[in-house]
Symmetry: C2
Subunit: 353 residues, 2 copies
């Protein structure tokens, strides 16, 4: 059987779950590689993917015999079939953080399970630790992202707008082997860098502007995420100590992203040092990266858990001075046994173009 589903079944056993109804397409893609719409049922004896007739062919092309997944056509499943899938099962899990309240009621009614139980992010927790294939995909996405930044370094000139840069990023990714962007690029120029979630506008690059670019792409479904703040022509002297402060903490945090590191402590590295210097860390210092660009675990002071080897995390401290400028430096980091390994590697030192 498919290795991930076998592992899921072990986890289910420990949680006393005799079945599971999986609706979240990202969890389905994770377990099966299927990208078509449908529902994956883990019943006591079988794995069944129920989908629409128009997707049958491509779903069957995605699966291998080794997956041991039965593909079924919605049109051929009767009311009784639904009721029988989990017959005599005590606890059947569902994804309470994906299924809407309305669909919860429909599921409850359709499958007639004794006890429909919340799985508390069981699959999202599994997804936190990546296997070698997943890491390889993320590495590829990171390589393309590095190359994109190298390209931008030559592409960006005085007079070019935030929107034009954002379009160039999307274009570059598509033409260089990425299947997609992992999120709409954030491109902020000058005073706009002070807003951490800026949407690109027609603001054009001028001499001495900081340029903050936060971007990522997807490779085989897996995401990268990287930010650099670079400068047009020169760096205002007053920005340098802030840049240095962000960079120092970013590098230290990457190094500390190792097995058994406490997440709360990890978050407090930048937080404390920023505070000592009179600044606030106004967003989480990071998040998991995988099939989603933001996934578990969140790297914030609220999370008192520990890192595991082969988690992949964004590490993105930033300082923002409203109306003036902001500096953020971000890498996609692989959690190693002894230290974190940055998978994005465009220079982190001052880049003046």
């Amino acid at each position: 059987m498919n290795e991930k589903i076998r592992y899921l079944r072990e986890k289910m056993k420990k949680l006393d779950l005799e079945g599971m109804i999986i609706s979240n397409p990202i969890n389905i893609k994770y377990l099966t590689n299927i990208e078509e719409e449908g529902t994956l049922l883990i019943t006591r004896k079988e794995n069944i993917f129920i989908t629409y007739s128009m997707y049958l062919e491509s779903v069957k092309n995605t699966l291998t015999i080794n997956d041991e997944i039965i593909v079924a056509d919605t049109r051929e499943i009767s009311k009784e079939d639904y009721e029988n899938f989990f017959l005599f099962c005590e606890n059947v899990g569902f994804e309470e953080n994906y299924v809407t309240y309305e669909n919860y009621k429909i599921i409850k009614q359709k499958y007639k399970t004794n006890n429909l139980v919340e799985t508390e992010g069981l699959l999202e927790k599994m997804r936190e630790v990546k296997n070698q294939d997943e890491i390889n995909n993320i590495k590829k996405a990171c390589e393309i992202t590095d190359r994109c930044f190298e390209h931008l370094q030559k592409f960006i000139k005085i007079g070019i707008t935030e929107i034009e840069i954002a379009n160039e990023i999307e274009d570059f990714f598509k033409k260089n082997g990425a299947e997609n962007i992992s999120f709409k690029p954030i491109v902020a120029v000058g005073e706009n860098t002070s807003n951490p979630h800026w949407k690109p506008t027609k603001r054009a690059v001028k001499m001495a502007d900081p340029i903050l670019i936060d971007m990522g792409c997807k490779y085989n479904g897996y995401c990268s995420d990287m930010t650099r703040t670079i400068f047009m022509g020169c760096i205002l002297e007053e920005i340098k100590p802030i840049y240095d402060l962000v960079l120092k903490n970013q590098l230290l945090t990457t190094r500390e992203m190792r097995e058994y590191a406490n997440i709360k402590m990890l978050s407090s590295i930048s937080e404390t040092d920023f505070k000592v210097n009179g600044y606030d860390l106004i967003h989480a210092v990071g998040h998991g990266i995988g099939l989603e660009v933001h996934e578990r675990p969140i790297i914030s002071f609220k999370n008192d858990t520990f890192l595991k080897e082969n988690m992949v995390l964004a590490n993105e401290p930033g300082i923002y001075l409203p109306g003036k400028y902001g500096i953020r430096i971000e890498d996609t980091v692989l959690v190693g046994k002894n230290e974190g390994i940055s998978l994005t590697n465009f220079p982190r030192t001052y880049v003046v173009i």
Copy 2:
């Protein structure tokens, strides 16, 4: 007060709702134009948008005094504030088709409402009928889409791949005033046209290939949706009668998309005629279009309701012969008093390039 919120309040009164918790970002955008993350509360006396500090500025820039919406910072709202928002309210609505089961439980706990009730798509139903501003935005998106097809007619040559055409579409939209695509373009060439939900591949255009392109863009958040099936060099004679059959029914359906038309009947136009000729209609003949490219109402034989003036609908009958070819013709149609008005207008007759 903002016209849409006033109308919502009238609807709420009729449904005996004394408050509403709006979480779906599309419904929030519809009511307020706000695109930032947050929750909109319709309390007995006030409209309150609760958001994160980093979004406060841009939210305030979006709203006008006329909106009468109070903007609040999540950090400044206490546990008691949440409990007081709907104090003494009998029924408070929530979006059961958007809110996850987990968030439903959080909402229930946080707001301590007597009776948290399902609103049964109240806002999605409101969104079905468009006002003049919304129609103008959709018209703009349709114009850009028409122009994109004109461009493709010149751009597509023998040897070009599905992926290259799809990239060109995205590029054209961005460079011609659209803020985004409304969905990933479907570009299918040759035998791939027989799959209605094809994802672009490296399949290159050859002589005599049919080329099916289903695409749309967004203008001010509003979507367009159009499909044409065109031909490289010549049209196989055997395709012509199928094309004619699809086109005849598509045109008839557009004409019938008028006020008070029964949706079930509308769907049966193509369905019946296809069947008589030995083909099946394997997907719904259409759907609502607005802030989402697929929204209410669904135009299918299961929907026994009636059209209203100023709904905007996709009309997209298609015939697919597995492994051979498929023909789909689709327009974005405005429901008029006496007949439907097509807002996309690239030629529907045989286009041979």
